[in-house]
């Protein structure tokens, strides 16, 4: 029997409850329970997590570098979406 590879999983950790999850890295595992335990053992050795997500890498789709122009640049000139676009008269407190 040839040596088959275990599946690749992406690991996301939440540092404190209430915070967003951040990508921590990857592990190899045959199933999601194994992926979860492996992720715990690899990515929380120094108390870096209060919660962990594991996702099969193949389930993640990513935009590609060619998409940058059409995806993200159109929002660059929409300065009216940022609060500092608006001037409030002096002496008025922020809502």
């Amino acid at each position: 029997m040839s040596d088959k590879q275990l599946q690749l999983w992406e690991v996301f950790t939440q540092k404190k409850t209430g915070m967003s999850f951040e990508h921590a890295g990857s592990v190899r595992a045959a199933d999601k329970e194994m992926a979860l335990l492996n992720a715990r053992d690899v990515y929380s050795r120094r108390g870096e997590a209060t919660c962990i997500w594991v996702v099969p890498s193949e389930c993640i789709s990513s935009s590609s570098p060619e998409d940058i122009a059409s995806f993200f640049e159109p929002s660059d000139d929409k300065i009216y979406r940022h609060p500092n676009f608006y001037k409030t008269p002096d002496g008025i407190k922020q809502v």
Binding site: R28, E33, L37, N38, D41, R45
Partner: protein, 251 residues
């Protein structure tokens, strides 16, 4: 000093220490990096438990022996670790089954001890129990995977169960130390631990399509009295060599 409590604490400390020593042998040799890291995490937890229990034992004894003196300057007949913990790694399957048997035992034992009337004992049990619960989940998962994986893994892990079963009687021996401490509300009720252990192990083995060996009357026991298998002497020769060879050195 409470001699019974000293003896009892040694049993817990030595069991964690020797199992950790065995698991440490895996570091760098595991079946994949992830499992290398996982086994080492367990070894580290157990070593922490050993250190804490042995430090407490030294305190109870009151003769100035700290955890290192107890770990490195006793001979095999003074060690009180479970016979299971000194059994060799053999392969990943043996290591997992050994872990399953010991972690299950620790789980039920520590659960009882969280109610111990001795405050130090209950505090140590509370902390250790959290760690052991993870070890148990890890070992149970792998028992399932190996038992119900391939034909080869099934055979290997069944062989481990059959072999290690002979040392499970040692887990539940009751002597006057247990009896005396049970009256004081410090020790775990081994009868209860045994019943729970049996139920859980049978469930896990069953789920893993593994068969439970027959109960036999010739189980190897003796750890309570310091009568060990041949393996412990070799473990200690290696583990204790530096402090023994250089008794006046500090590290």
């Amino acid at each position: 000093m409470n001699k019974d409590l000293f003896e009892y604490t040694l049993r817990l400390g030595d069991t964690s220490l020797i199992l950790s020593q065995r698991l440490g042998e895996w570091c760098g040799h595991g079946p994949m990096l992830e499992e290398d890291i996982a086994l080492t995490n367990i070894a580290l937890d157990l070593l922490g438990q050993a250190k804490a229990f042995l430090a407490y034992a030294g305190e109870i004894e009151g003769k100035g022996r700290n955890e290192d003196v107890l770990a490195f300057h006793r001979d095999a007949n003074h060690f009180r670790n479970l016979l299971l913990t000194e059994q060799p790694n053999v392969d990943f399957g043996f290591t997992i089954i050994r872990q399953l048997f010991v972690s299950t035992w620790q789980h039920y034992l520590y659960s009882e001890l969280t109610h111990a009337t001795d405050k130090n004992m209950s505090a140590l049990a509370v902390k250790s129990l959290k760690e052991v619960n993870y070890h148990l989940r890890f070992a149970s998962d792998w028992t399932l995977r190996l038992g119900d994986g391939t034909e080869e893994s099934h055979q290997r892990v069944q062989a481990a169960v059959n072999e290690l079963w002979n040392y499970t009687g040692d887990l539940f021996e009751i002597d006057q130390v247990d009896e005396a401490l049970l009256k004081l509300g410090i020790a775990a009720d081994m009868k209860k631990v045994e019943a729970s252990w049996n139920k859980h192990i049978r469930q896990v083995l069953n789920d893993a399509t593994l068969s439970v060996p027959e109960i036999n009357n010739f189980m190897r026991t003796g750890s309570r009295k310091g009568v060990h298998t041949e393996y412990l002497g070799f473990i200690l020769a290696e583990m204790q060599f530096l402090p023994r060879a250089y008794p006046d050195a500090k590290w």
